[in-house]
Structure formats: C-alpha cells, structure tokens
Amino acid sequence: MSYLYVMKTQLIRSFTYRFDVYGNIIMQTIIMVTTAFFWKALFGSGSFGNGMTADKMLTYTIISSAMSVLFTTGVERRIQRSVQQGSISVEMIHPINVFGVYFAEDMGTIAALLFQNLLPIIIIGSLVIKVPMIVSVSAIPMFAASLVLSMGINWLLAAIFGMWAFTAVEMDALIQVKKHLLRLLSGSIIPIWFFPDSLRAVLEALPFVYIYQLPLDIYVGSASTEDILRRMVIQVIWFAVLGTAFFILQRRVLGKVMVQGG
C-alpha cells in the first residue's frame, strides 16, 4: 500500500537524521529526572489521597516522558511549510490524499523514534529513577487500547490545528503555544487530580486529558475500573468527534488551496 511505503521511506529518512534525536533524549531526561526529584521531595514516604504513593508517581513520570515520544507530530509544520513554499501543489498531483501522506510520515517518524527516543528514555528512567512496572498484567490491553486512541486524538488535534496554516500562514508561535498548553492541560507533567475540582471538571470535558492522563491512570492504577471505563467512553467519543471534524475540514481546506508564488 502506498501510504505504508511513505511511512517506510520516512522511517529510513528519520534514521539518517541523528541530530535532534540526541537533543530530544537529553531534554526529556532533564524534564523526567527533575520532575521525579520534585515528586520525591513532595511525597517523602507518605501517600496522597487516592492511594498514590511517591513510587507510583515516579512510574507516572517515566511513562509520561516515554509517551511524549509517541505524541510527536510533524503535521502542523509540514502543512505550514507546504503552504508557505507552495510545495502543496506538487503534493497534490499524485493520486493520494495529502493528509494521508502527512499521517504516514508522522507514523514513520514515530516508528524511528521508538528506537531512537522511547527506548533510551525508558532505559535511562529505569537506571536513574526506577523500573516503571505496570500496575497489573490485566491492565495491559486496556492501556494499549487507550494509548492508540490517545495517539489518534493527539494527531487529529495537531492536524486540525495545522489546517489553520491554510489561512493564517505564519504560525510558528501558535504551534509553541499549543504544544505547551497541551502538556499542561493533559496531565502529562502534573496529574489533574491535583487541580481544584471545578477546573478538573472543565478539563475532563476537553479532549486533552484523554491524551496523557487516561492511559497513565490505567498504567499506574490510580483510578477505579468503573471510572476508567467511563472515561474511555468519553475518549472514544472525542476520537469520533475529532475524526469527523478532520474529514470535513480537510475536504474544505483542500478545495480552497491557494498556491503561494506562481
């Protein structure tokens, strides 16, 4: 299949670019280790209300760092570049959907990052902090299912966001804002159970917590099965909503392509 080959090509390309790979490992390691020390200092040997211990919090931190690799997206920048440089025109002469190509490219990049980033982060985390074991073997299928949906939601959000580039051509700053807002609101660094109830209710209605918080809760076992299932239903709904929005928008956007420069 053509999209699979695009993915494979991107995988090969990613392996030839070593540069930012090491940078990202170093950055993620710094965030991971400092966050871990922070939690250690905060908890000491005690525990938090919902049965969270410092130990579980450390697992949370390591897995969150590892997961961030899976949420790497190039699609916003890719759209921006294509629109700005006008290369969108050569992408559209092929019998293939351009967003399908962007998706396949992102999956190819992530596949390469599994070895280049995710594995090193888990290894460093295990050596420096602790071995991040999942709460129980029976949680694995649920974690995996939820993680796949998370990746879907994350990519769809990025793609929908990136479609802005078709109108507001310059959006480097917006991409940064979105990235940091997402990390803050999704529970990737601070779990949302630390937030006030009212804010938490708002966040649970938004799609962001279904990217990091939900799979992490499943992994460390910090919520009841009932609660998890309820939130997984919301996750599926968000996935469907964003998926539908994406399909409608991409049709509209591609019908409105403007080519910059001739």
Binding site: S2, R13, V90, I96, M258
Partner: protein, 325 residues
Amino acid sequence: MIRVNDLHKEYHVVKKGQGLSGAVKGLFKSEKLTVNAVNGLNFHINEGEIVGFIGPNGSGKSTTIKMMTGILTPTSGEVLINGQNITKHRKEAVRDIGVVFGQRTQLNWDLRLEESFELLRHIYRIDKKQYSETLEVMDEILGIGEILSKPVRQMSLGQRMKGDLAASMLHSPKVLFLDEPTIGLDVGTKYSLRKFIKEINRLRKTTVILTTHDLGDIQQLCERIIIINSGVIMEDGNLSEIVERIAPYRTLKVEFYDSDIPKHERAELISEDNNVACYKFFKSELTAAELIRDLSGEKAIKDISIEEAGIDDIIRIAYGIKNVE
C-alpha cells in the same frame, strides 16, 4: 483528451492600507477584493497534440494549469481529462497526467533519485516490469542512468529537471503538463528537454501542454498555441496560421556599399544604420524578389537576408491588442 468548459477562477485578496496605520486598521477591518484570474476559458485538446500555452506574467496561465492538474478548484466551470472531471475525481484523474513545474520539484530532497522513483512507483502502484521498462526508455532519452544513485539535494538544476521529467513519466500518463520547464536551463539541457518532449510525443502519443516564456521552445515544439491574457483566450490555433494572420509581413535586411539608402513605395523602411537598412513588407503586396530587384536597380547591394515575422512579434501583437482595447 482534455476539455475545458467555461472555466473561471476568482481570488479574494485582502487589501491592506499603507504604512503603520494601514497595518493597524487591517487588524480590525479588512477590505476584500475579488480578482478574476481566469475568466471563462473554453478549449479542447486532442490526443497527441503539443500545445504551447503562453501569456505574460500574471495572465492567469499558471492558475489555469493548476486547475487543469487538479491543484486548484475552479470557481466555476470544469476540466475533463480523458473524460473525467479532475476536480471531482482528483485521485483517479491524476493517474492520467504527469506534471513538471520548472520551479518546484516532486522529488524528495533527502532521498536518492531512485528512492524517490521507488516511492512514486508505490504511490502509483506501477508493477515492477513496466517500471523498469519505462526507466530504460527514460535513460535512453534523458541519460538518467548515471544520476539515479545521487541524492536530489546534490543535483544541478539540469540534472534535477531530468529527474523530474523522468518522474512525471513513470506511470506512463496520457497527458504531460510542463509549467515553464526550461527556466534557468543551459542550452544543452534545453536541447535534451526538447528532444525528450518530441520523443515521448512520438513514441507514446503523449499529449503535451507547455507553458513557457522561451520562444525557442514554442517554435521547435508546438504546432498549436493558445495565447492567454487577463484570464481570457486571445488566440487559439495553428502557430503558422496565427503568424500568417497577425503578422503577415517579413523583413528584408540589406547591406549597401554606402549610407545613401533608397526608399521603396510598398515597403516600409523600419531602421537604418549606416549602410544597413531593414524593410518591412507584406507578403500579399510584394514578393521578396520584387523588392530586391527594385532596390538593386537603384543602388548596388552587398548582402541581404530575409526574416520571417517571429513568434515574438506575434506575442507582442497579441498582448498589445488587449492593451489597446
């Protein structure tokens, strides 16, 4: 093979005021202007034709090409490629077309040429046998064999253009669109590009649509030209017939022995420089032989040459007609 019916394209551009105050105002209120880039085009192109699509910068020819290749959506009207509406069935219809943009590449900068080709092979789902046959033909015409293993980013413009041409032909399209393919190329590469166009047209009956500012391209390749200006067709027809109709004159350049230059009642003296003079005359009124005989009757002639009205005259006149209106 290609049918264009009443094709229109409007752009909306935001008009911004000048200077800082204009920029600030633009943040709150913007005035929209509608520009008719393409304004009701109708034509059809048969299989195996080589058509030159020409017009000045900003005439709407690139917009037209982009609508014909499914990149831009027309405001109204339709483009049928081999019977299929390219806007509605883009993914199917683009299988029949190959596109080369002189100023962009469809090759991947990070990959070697053959890797880019391999990617295209998968995108178009070309089977291996057909693929290697096409590649062989491309190597014969363009000599791309030696650059196949070269990364695209290291290629010269000429090499890249050859790569792009081969890439556009991998899936054996029925129609090839070339948007200013010879821009920036040296004489040798231009020559091989023209040879390539002639060859694929002859061997594969590929229909070629070409936009260019290079008059040599048109003269050597196109039997038919479509001249477009301000989004409308100014001329559409056989190149030599258009020349015959718009510029049915020739120029005779005569070198005399001295600077005393004779006049002729039926030929216009358009320039004189020392002892060299140029006469413009209409074929219907005067033959070259008559003119030469008359002139040599008055003064001794050292040397002569006759120039047909060139394609550049045609273009100047065709563009000019619009300006006069």
